[in-house]
Amino acid sequence: MNNDEKRDSLRGLDVPSTGVEPEVKSVSVKKPHSFFAERPLPAIEIASQGLRYQSRRDFLLFGAGALTALAGAGFLLPQETLSRIGIRRNINSPAKEWFLNRALRIDDDVAEALYSVNRSVPTYTKSQITPLKNNYNGSTPDPGYISGWKLTLAGLASGLSISLDIRNLLTRFPVHEQITRLVCVEGWSAIAWWAGVRFDDLIRAYPPMSQAKWARVDSSVNLDASGNPDPYFMSLDLATARHPQTLLATHFNGQPLTVDHGAPLRLLVPMKLGLKNVKAVTRITYAAEEPRDYWAERGYSRYDGI
């Protein structure tokens, strides 16, 4: 019996033709899915008991998670915030400080990894200059200090301590100009036209001791809010100090620096937050270990790279 005869005989028997005729089989009821097309949610048949067990587990996990989040908030939020919402108990702990500083440290490591001595910060034109307020944290010092001002360098390879005045700096090193943005940790920023000598030129002229990785930049004339002496000290990694846009600035918007802006010499390090841009620098000390930092001791980060 050949195929044609077989088909004829089956037809004769009035058997449903499904599966026998190839052309019927090729017609699919389901539309083929495109990769992006939404698909129906998969339905599953599951024993009620198994579902109950699974749900109980998920609800217990959810509750445990919620309690952990509450405890975590109580653990991590600042004491002042907790007092404000009525939690008077002091839950300040070394662990809390350690944990939050850990997050700060990770963020600093990321910033350090992003930094490159070969990447320039954006520069602007004179028409883009914006006002820069005097943001001395305390009182602005009396200008009396300027006449006797000297910059002291310490931690040098020579083992000596060097004293320089403004004339030494400006005659010895080429003056560079740049119009860059200064960004404050508070969020505001200002575009200003600066001129001064490169920190890198100073480092080349007076090399730091060989193990030095850091510079501590001091301003001994800094005052607190009541006008009492409050020396400012700040750590700067030498990799950033050597950046060609890191200046020891002497001029602001075409004029010698005023007391408001740190006369006669301020650090201008635009790839760091404004708080690293020390006004009225009086001393630079090179060190192998990370020096103390005024704002890091007040809960801010240490590296402050932006």
């Binding site: 998969p42 048949e45 009620s48 600042p78 997050a103 940790v185 635009p270 932006i306």
Partner: protein, 254 residues
Amino acid sequence: MLVVRKHHFLVRWSHWLNVPILLGLILSGISIYWASPIYQHKPDPNTGNFDVAADIGIWICAHVPGQHHSSSPPDWIYNHMSLGPGMLAPALRVHWLCAYSFMLNGLVYVAGLAVGGGWRSLLPRWTDLVDALRMFRYYVGFPLAKLARRQWPHPRFNTKYNALQRAAYFSVPVAGFLSVATGWAIHKPMQLHWLAAVFGGYNAARVWHFWLMWLYIFFVVPHVFLVFADGWDTLRSMIVGWSTRVERSEVVAK
């Protein structure tokens, strides 16, 4: 019992983790905003105040019952909607902790969408334009129909979400991505200056970052309201993953 698998467990975990993380980001973010508000006016000659948020606090203390005895009206907003005024250093530390958690959590969410295939339900489609109008008409008419005791049937869709839900659930991950991008732009405006330029520069990126926060707030309020209105099955499905609403699904396994 026949149920549908609705949310992958990674999607559920990241969904709930977003609650404390976003709360931490918003509360610490407003504390950071306090240090240098982006919305300022000329200082008031009497008070010296220049912060619009402080003006709102002063208005609230003057006009909202029960708030007259606030010790510092200009700080009302910061006392009630942030970690507090004058707390930049602790707020920054909380913000970085939450921001890194938010980015990790975003990766978990995307992984859950990819593994569970849920991303397909979130993709916008052309029919959404008309369907969104149908849903909008439904929501607007719903209270009126209730008052008139008339039937007001929910539009029928054979998809996981309706067009308005889809628009919302698609926008929030996009907003999350933009919040992270604008956050990096204002956190590292020198090393990532190209990223700040994408958003129109450093100052513009701060404005973006601020309004993206409001997008979460504008999303969360109706989101929470509607999930309770929609019923227990919907809320439960985000905890347990399954739903008993099987009418639009296919049976794939027994």
